[in-house]
């Protein structure tokens, strides 16, 4: 289906999120959309898929002007969107998720639906079990389910908003193969991403947005430096690897044994120097999140010992971990790390040292102002946290970290962030390392793991590798290791 956007504007109260965007996407093309955080990519995609109405402008499908009233209306007209956080029902089964919203008779024929699910997924090379509960699936599999569902509904334009941020390298390959196949069939694919290397290998054409405007388009071969310049108005280079290891051991795990409903992690022993960064790699659900939560004191180990600076923390409650300068930044920023509805000032007040019973608002605002400037957050002390863009929420989380810290535990520290923000965040984290803090972080981004870690632990269904030297590991090797290849039996 040919898609054309003509002079699209979208104005939110104070923000001109889309400003006169013109874009033509012919059928069979994989169109990449690039842009920094807050550039207006998601807004544009939501307009095309019926979540927002444009303030002005026109959408044409197969050269006919259309009005798209709602997401369901969009699917009826052949446009389906895959959200970064899949819009599905985690507590329900795959087959139910597949069926909900599909038109048909009162009592759906589950057997038939399962057969059709199977038929489409065979073509695309996916393998989901219809009876599995969606909350046991990885983000990548949930995406696959959404793609299958939208195709079953007959969409001919598939929009993917940052589909590669939370998925493994293997799943990414599968996804790309499926998207190429769909494009060959004449479907239109729109691919929004921050990852230039993904856009480079997949897209037939790229458009760059900045501050709501379409800056330009590019056809292959893509000039990456030029693309980055279009995105940020300046040239950005990845800093050199630098290590802040101090030599003396600060964080120690002794035969730490963990267990939850699905996984058993047999004894992990590890000695980490002050200032060292350890990357935790592995497919989602391989045990790295459990491991990190155990280091944070949120999960009790079934065996072994944890100590920091020679203080034994085994079996101690969470607040003891906090007292020893351990901080944990979860992936679900808004659910676990920040308090939606509260302003930046209130967050800084909450995180600060409690002195006295009354709130010192003056002081709070001053601190907030300082940190906002220091961390380059786009927002004001009075901004409620959920009004910030993803990148700025992440900056706020970092700005909330106490001083000094001994151990910082991070889940996907730069997920969903643009290159500039990612570099910025790691600069700030490395500053902490220089002060002696140990960092353990989970990421599904192999480049990030290799670029910023000193050593790597790879997780594979509860097995933990011995630490790898990040400098001597390649992306290919790491990818295979994560996928389960190269493990001693």
């Amino acid at each position: 289906m040919n898609v054309e956007l003509r002079d699209i504007h979208k104005i939110f109260a104070a923000v001109h999120a889309n400003n006169g965007i013109n874009l033509k996407i012919p059928a069979g093309v994989i169109q990449g959309i690039l842009g920094e955080n807050g550039a207006g990519k998601s807004t544009l995609m939501k307009i095309l898929s019926g979540f927002y109405q444009p303030s002005q402008g026109q959408i044409l499908l197969d050269d006919k002007p259309v009005i798209i009233r709602s997401p369901a209306d969009a699917t009826r007209q052949g446009v389906g969107m895959l959200h970064q956080d899949p819009l599905d029902f985690p507590s329900m089964r795959v087959i139910d998720n597949f069926l909900i919203g599909h038109p048909g008779e009162l009592i759906p024929d589950r057997g038939q639906a399962a057969a059709q699910l199977e038929a489409i997924q065979q073509k695309l090379g996916f393998s989901l079990r219809p009876e599995a509960h969606v909350d046991t699936l990885t983000v990548g599999e949930r995406q696959q389910l959404e793609i299958l569902r939208l195709l079953w509904l007959g969409v001919r334009v598939l929009i993917l908003d940052e589909p590669t941020t939370g998925i493994s390298a293997l799943q990414k390959e599968k996804l790309f193969a499926a998207l190429r196949l769909l494009a060959q069939e004449g479907k239109t694919i729109i691919f929004v991403s921050h990852k230039l290397e993904d856009v480079e290998v997949l897209c037939h054409k790229v458009a760059v947005l900045r501050q709501g405007r379409l800056i330009g388009e590019m056809l292959p071969p893509f000039n990456i430096t030029r693309l980055v310049e279009m995105m940020f108005e300046k040239v950005i280079t990845l800093g050199n690897r630098r290590s802040c290891c101090r030599g003396e051991i600060s964080f120690r795990l002794n035969a730490l044994e963990l267990e939850d409903a699905r996984l058993h992690i047999p004894g992990v022993s590890l000695e980490v120097q002050g200032g060292e960064v350890i990357g935790l790699a592995g497919m989602e659900g391989s045990g790295q999140a459990l491991f990190l939560r155990a280091c944070a004191g949120l999960v009790r180990a079934v065996g072994g010992h944890i100590s920091i600076n020679e203080h034994d923390l085994t079996g101690k409650p969470y607040h003891t971990y906090l007292e020893h300068g351990i901080a944990y930044l979860p992936a679900a920023r808004l659910e676990e790390g920040l308090a939606p509805g509260m302003t930046l000032t209130e967050h800084f007040l909450l995180a600060g040292e409690a002195r006295g019973f009354n709130i010192d608002w003056e002081q709070g605002r001053k601190v907030a102002q300082e940190r906002i400037a220091d961390f380059n957050i786009r927002g004001t002390p009075a901004s409620p946290i959920e009004a910030l863009s993803g990148g700025n929420q992440q900056r706020a989380l970092l700005a909330l970290l106490k001083h000094p810290l001994n151990l910082i535990l991070l889940e996907h520290p730069t997920r969903g962030l643009d290159i500039e923000s990612s570099i910025y965040i790691w600069d700030k984290l490395k500053e902490r390392c220089a002060e002696g803090a140990v960092i353990l972080f989970i990421s599904s981004d192999l480049e990030e793991l290799l670029q910023y870690s000193d050593r790597l632990l790879v997780f594979f269904s509860g097995e933990v590798s011995s630490p790898l030297d990040a400098e001597r590991t390649t992306v290919e090797h790491l990818g295979q290791f994560i996928g389960g290849k190269g493990w001693a039996a």
Partner: protein
Amino acid sequence: MDSATLLGLAGVLAAAAPVLFAVIGETITERAGVINLSVNGTILLSAMGGFAVAVNTGSLLLGFLAGALIGALVALVIAFSSITLQQSQVAVGFVLALVCRDLSYFLGNPYMGASGPRLPSAPIPLLGDLPLIGPLFFRQDLLTYLSYVLIFAAWAYIFKTRPGLMLQGIGERPAAAFARGADVNRLRYLYTVIGGAIIGIAGPAYSLSVKAGWKGTISGLDGIGWIALSITIFGGWNPLRAAFGAYLFALLQWLGLVLQPSLPGIPSQVLQVAPFPLMILTLLLVNIGNAEWVERALARLPENTRHALARLLRSLRAAPPAALGVPFEQE
């Protein structure tokens, strides 16, 4: 089994019928993501109202319809204030629970002790003659039969039909349901009102059948609604499990009566009240797997026992609809 016990157990099934209506009405409402906390007041008001209508018109059917209408209207107030006005469902529901209760006592004064119609027993031919099963299940009144049907109908609707799947969806993740074409707020209105109507039938089910008549504050209906709310949770928002809870509650109440003569040392009030704390205890047991100290206690057990116990606790645990009580704003 002697015939007295059999009769008693048949009575348990009949006595559970009103609780079942309340629990299933609430289950449907909460599945849609709305909490109707007014159940206790609704039951009292519809018991009184249904009775009054039946007395005045001489029609049992109109009595039951009046009960359903009262339930639907109370639910409409909750829907309007929580969905349209986005006020707290808990606060509004709680106030309604109190207001409706007092209103029923006040408006019911003229009908205190009045004699009214009562739903007759309607044994089903053939089925009613079966040994054991016959007297237990099939020599009941129409309402009790309806309660059996309701359990399975509600279960089949929620889990087996397309609109039922969407009902689960709007309570689970309204944004995703909206993306799939559901008019979330309209559906929430609809299910809240339908659920309220079903809850409303519980009232006349007492005043026109199980505890026929209206006796104001000594009708013995106060508190049932709160139990119904807890059974909804205990039932994991599943009509089959909820039915089990409702029958358990009725059984406990009956046991309290039966055991009274054989336990003279225990004051009768204790036995009458005992089912309430017992229900709460059951609730606690069912959800105990959530507690951290249990996890810690489990961690000390040998591996096999630990796995088995953990699995058992997990299967008992039921997660509420994720968006229960959370308003939804369409953009």
